[in-house]
């Protein structure tokens, strides 16, 4: 009898991640899993297609799973076992009673992705999804066009996954976002121009080099990760939906995916309540989606950004029309705020809720205040502010906005003088 070969006695390898197919949001044409984000027939956006007959977990099953975004895996495009970034997601939902009083609502909560693992922004969610898509497609090099937070997330998660990374950013981003990318050893490229110039270049890069650029040719899979924020909010509220949510808008994808996520939570009968009204926030120096919501219609009018809120400075938002549609469908609205207002928003959130956010979060808080003044909220509203990034990344925004701390000799009397002042 021939002894079994080494291969025959080795344990079967664990199944790696697979992917669901995609279909065009416009014409419905199906595509097999591929590093492709637009329909080959009409160039419309591809979105993952889920088997409507797939088995969905109960609340109790979800509760037994690890506290990460993968506890909602049935609503993510990765099939089989994910292999990268298993511990991203499930950020805190914080009660903010003083903010609630300021906003004139019954309850205000902060969804705090400023402490997201590993790179301190909500982009960890989409990158976790995209890197597993890259693994399923056998891609060894990933990358992105980024305003900063995505750069950090791709660099950190690619380093951990052992993937090569090419990351393209505007040349003049905040220091924290540059350092927070370069430290992971990624190929970081600073491009002369705005984010929209970077994005156009990366569309050509994806076409030429075949890398997995998470927000270009992996975009259909990538975006789905944002839905997990909606699932978490519902679960953290005891499987109840809030009545209103304020979201920063850059490309418009997060708001669009929150709309989808709240709809899926409802359709799965996991949560009670109606899907929330969605309110989008932008900086006045780059507010093409706000302009579209106010003007009506479907066509974005691109702008050249002029704001300190670099993380949301996208003048040509790819999902702008879809975000505007989601806002209208939900009964919400959109609000632009000035740079001084968003800086005050950063300070207000820190003082009133103990959360230090970056400029996009400042815009979210400032927009919420403006919406409250305009009577957009109701006294019985349960309002969630989506805080998507950490303030340590954009300390430049606060230059001159905070009083200088006193310098004293190491003497108790000096402290006493300060304390009695």
């Amino acid at each position: 009898m021939t002894p079994p070969s080494a291969a025959a006695v080795s344990p079967a390898p664990l199944p790696g991640p697979g992917l669901v197919p995609q279909a065009c949001r416009l014409c419905g044409e199906r595509s097999a899993p591929a590093p492709q984000a637009v329909c080959s027939s009409c160039l419309g956006p591809l979105e993952p297609v889920y088997d409507p007959a797939r088995r969905l977990p109960s609340r109790a099953e979800i509760a037994r799973r690890p506290p990460s975004l993968w506890r909602y895996r049935e609503w993510l495009p990765v099939t089989g076992e994910p292999v990268h970034s298993l511990d991203s997601g499930f950020t805190p939902l914080l009660e903010a009673p003083r903010l609630a009083r300021l906003l004139g609502v019954a309850r205000a909560l902060v969804k705090n992705d400023a402490v997201s693992h590993p790179s301190l922004s909500f982009k960890d969610r989409v990158v976790a999804t995209a890197l597993n898509a890259a693994a399923a497609l056998g891609l060894g090099t990933v990358g992105c066009a980024s305003t900063g937070n995505l750069a950090n997330a791709v660099a950190a998660q690619a380093a951990r996954a052992g993937l090569a990374a090419w990351i393209f950013i505007p040349h003049d981003l905040e220091l924290g976002k540059v350092v927070g990318t370069a430290v992971y050893g990624a190929n970081l490229v600073r491009v002369q121009g705005t984010y929209d110039d970077v994005n156009r270049l990366c569309a050509q890069v994806a076409d030429r080099f075949g890398w997995g650029l998470v927000n270009l040719n992996l975009r259909g899979y990538y975006g789905e990760g944002s839905k997990t924020m909606a699932f978490e909010i519902a679960e953290q509220l005891g499987w109840r939906l809030p009545s209103a949510v304020v979201v920063p808008m850059a490309g418009g994808s997060l708001l669009t995916k929150l709309h989808k996520g709240f709809g899926e939570v409802t359709a799965a009968r996991l949560a009670s309540g109606s899907p929330p009204r969605l309110y989008g926030a932008q900086a006045a120096g780059c507010a093409p989606i706000v302009e579209l919501v106010e003007r009506g219609g479907d066509l974005i009018r691109p702008v050249v950004p002029d704001t300190i809120a670099r993380s949301i400075a996208i003048g040509n938002p790819a999902d702008g029309r879809f975000a505007a549609q989601a806002i209208r469908a939900s009964g919400g609205h959109a609000q632009a705020v000035s740079d001084p207002e968003l800086v005050e928003g950063i300070r207000l959130l820190a003082r009133e809720a103990g959360v230090f956010t970056e400029t996009a979060g400042g815009a979210t808080v400032a927009a919420a205040l403006a919406l409250a003044r305009a009577g957009r909220f109701r006294p019985d509203d349960e309002l969630v502010l989506c805080i998507t990034g950490n303030g340590l990344k954009t300390v430049e925004a606060l230059r001159g906005a905070l009083s200088e701390a006193p310098v004293i000799p190491p003497k108790l009397s000096a402290v006493a003088s300060l304390a009695s002042a």
Binding site: Q36, L43, G193, N215, S253
Partner: protein, 91 residues
């Protein structure tokens, strides 16, 4: 004016396989019309039925978004490069 129009790889089969197409015209719109006349299968991915830019591609003239200039009416010069990319990317 003689210019080069660069299209994404996924559209290349509609233009005989090439990604760069030499074309003529005084404006971006005229260049696109020239290309559309010679590559009818590609035409519908560059212009809509009203002759306006197809909404799911973007046109860049020498790296500048033509929507921030005069759209299809943006003048071109000899040696200019027009890049077409899918509209849905980034963010």
């Amino acid at each position: 004016m003689a210019v080069q129009l660069h299209i994404p790889g996924m559209l290349a089969p509609l233009a005989g396989g090439g990604r760069s197409i030499a074309a003529q015209g005084a404006t971006v719109g005229e260049v696109v019309a020239d290309v559309a006349a010679r590559h009818p299968a590609l035409a519908g991915k560059l212009r809509d039925e009203r002759g306006e830019p197809y909404p799911y591609v973007l046109f860049y003239l020498n790296d500048g978004d033509i929507r921030l200039a005069q759209g299809f009416g943006t003048p071109v010069r000899d040696g200019d490069e027009i890049v077409v990319v899918p509209a849905l990317s980034g963010g």
